[in-house]
Symmetry: C2
């Protein structure tokens, strides 16, 4: 079995079955009359040779590539990892292949994508310029946006998936408030190149909206942002804890941040969750192993993946895309005081 095989083509199948290539095509695409006899012979030949139509040639003929491109800022985190996993799973079942592209690559971005003839693009990026996205849309490439922020300026045939981030954060704020927290703080990402969240960002927006709904005045004390690394964040949290109006609840962009916050709070000698509450986002491994175990918000990666594929198949077959709405799930562990969210 160590000889150099060669991938069989339609021609090989046709010869083995004793029919023309066209017949093979018709059998496999099931769109023309083919006699039962020949159909059987073709299928047997296909089986015997392990023939499978060449995706490349198929794509060239304009028949779709069964190829999805996933664009994200960085796949190196728990959330994206699990999303990719689910995406691959549901995509594979439907015959699709999933490819990856980092949003930070921008040389030749658009032309590269178009030259690949992928069937659709899923975008989950806060950094990808909206005009890039618009250009993809203008080239009639089906685009699915995973809404982590507002893509207000993107118009045309675009499908949007709302993952429930905003309402998830809102529930978190409400939970902390109802359990007695009155000095809530939103913890933003750490980054070398300063990048502050604004109302475009759905987490930030969720926090602000819910605070306003609760009638709480937003001040500079309501936010920790602009830290360049986790050490800086640690210090910032300590300062915030030891200030005149000490924070008693932290709502964090993700679990990694939340864990650092948690450690800082504990280091300051505060009791968690009795004196201070902390809630993260992602339900990552970190949230499960820190002590006390971190309360967090879990996203429905499987649901998102399914929704994305459903939308893609709609768009590919020409239907008008719709919006999909999913929900997050609160995972209450030990850094929040128990409280029925109802």
């Amino acid at each position: 079995m160590t000889g150099k095989n060669t991938v069989p083509t339609r021609k090989d199948v046709a010869e083995l079955a004793g029919v023309s290539e066209t017949i093979v095509s018709y059998v496999l695409n099931a769109n023309r009359y083919v006699s039962a006899d020949k159909k059987k012979r073709v299928l047997e030949a296909v089986e015997k040779l392990h023939y499978r139509p060449n995706s490349i040639a198929r794509a060239l003929k304009g028949k779709g590539n069964s190829h999805i491109l996933f664009i994200a800022d960085n796949v190196a985190n728990d959330y994206f990892g699990r999303l990719l996993q689910e995406l691959d799973s549901v995509a594979y079942d439907r015959g699709y292949l999933v490819s990856l592209m980092s949003a930070k690559n921008n040389r030749d971005f658009i032309t590269r994508i178009l030259s690949r003839q992928v069937d659709a693009v899923i975008i989950s990026s806060a950094s990808l310029a909206e005009n890039y996205i618009q250009e993809l849309v203008d080239n009639s490439l089906p685009v699915v946006l995973l809404m982590t922020r507002d893509y207000a300026s993107v118009h045309g045939r675009v499908a949007r998936i709302y993952t429930g981030i905003e309402s998830g954060i809102m529930s978190a704020v409400r939970l902390l408030y109802e359990s007695g927290c009155r000095n809530l703080v939103h913890v933003d990402r750490v980054s070398r190149n300063l990048h502050f969240s604004n109302r475009q960002d759905l987490r930030f927006r969720g926090f602000c909206n819910q605070m306003e709904t609760l009638g709480i005045q937003l001040t500079e004390h309501s936010f920790i942002s602009g830290c360049r690394d986790y050490d800086e964040l640690f210090s910032a949290v300590c300062r915030r804890i030891q200030s005149d109006v000490p924070a008693d609840g932290f709502v964090c962009r993700n679990d990694r941040l939340a864990c650092t916050v948690l450690n800082a709070v504990l280091a300051c000698g505060k009791k968690v969750p009795d004196e201070v509450s902390v809630i993260g986002f992602d339900d990552s491994d970190s949230s499960k192993v820190v002590r006390p175990a971190l309360s967090t918000i879990a996203m429905d990666q499987k649901g998102i993946a399914s929704a994305a594929l459903e939308l893609i198949e709609m768009m590919v077959s020409g239907e008008t895309p719709v919006e999909k709405h999913l929900v997050t799930r609160m995972v209450l562990r030990e850094t929040t005081r128990q409280q029925d969210p109802e």
Copy 2:
């Protein structure tokens, strides 16, 4: 800018430049004589139209697809996430696209891959059957194996990357031994469907080899395996701690396991690292946020990614693949007693 554009082809470029299509091809592939005048006009037209050769058509002509397939057991963990990130980065720079496929998908596995005409496959999987891999090799598809275990039965044109797992674990064992641990335990993965490591697995092998080198008899007490989830692992660790010959050092397959072990050890009232040492693998986020911070072994994802691409380019251009050897890096934090590894 909201009109439906259309992707330009070689023909469009040729017309705009006032030359034949062949000239365009020759200019872009730089393999024939073309007058300076026409070359200039072609390049200008290319620039103007944002033309890029259609990868699909190119692939169909057998000129490679600049397409790499990455096959792994599950990308939903820190290690794979970062590897993917690095892989995408170096691949993008060299014009490649990276696709994903889970090793647990096995229906039509081979034919699907072959029908995609990818240029190469990178495999990092403990579960993918070796005969599948062999089949890819037999179909003269360049394969790069990330050696997490022994693929002894795979023969032919295969490139192998040794990521330093085995020696990394060996160093860890030596470190714990030299810092005084005498009852070391290897902690295996948790899994529903029981799957025990053996000498094929490089971590397991590293542990056993080093233990034998140190002259320590391996017994059933040297291993914790067969746990179906983290709760079971927690209990198993507690039992092991409270047994007649209490363990004083745990070498774990990954950080997630190590964190659970750490929490169990602490819950049993043992001092870490004074009484018990724990070391993980991956340098994941979890290892950074648990308290005490977990000592661990970091892999060189960037180096692995570069090596993989280098090997792929070698194989694609017909050279005989070679073995690549990388090294891991010990990250000593607070769950091991400080000790100079020399």
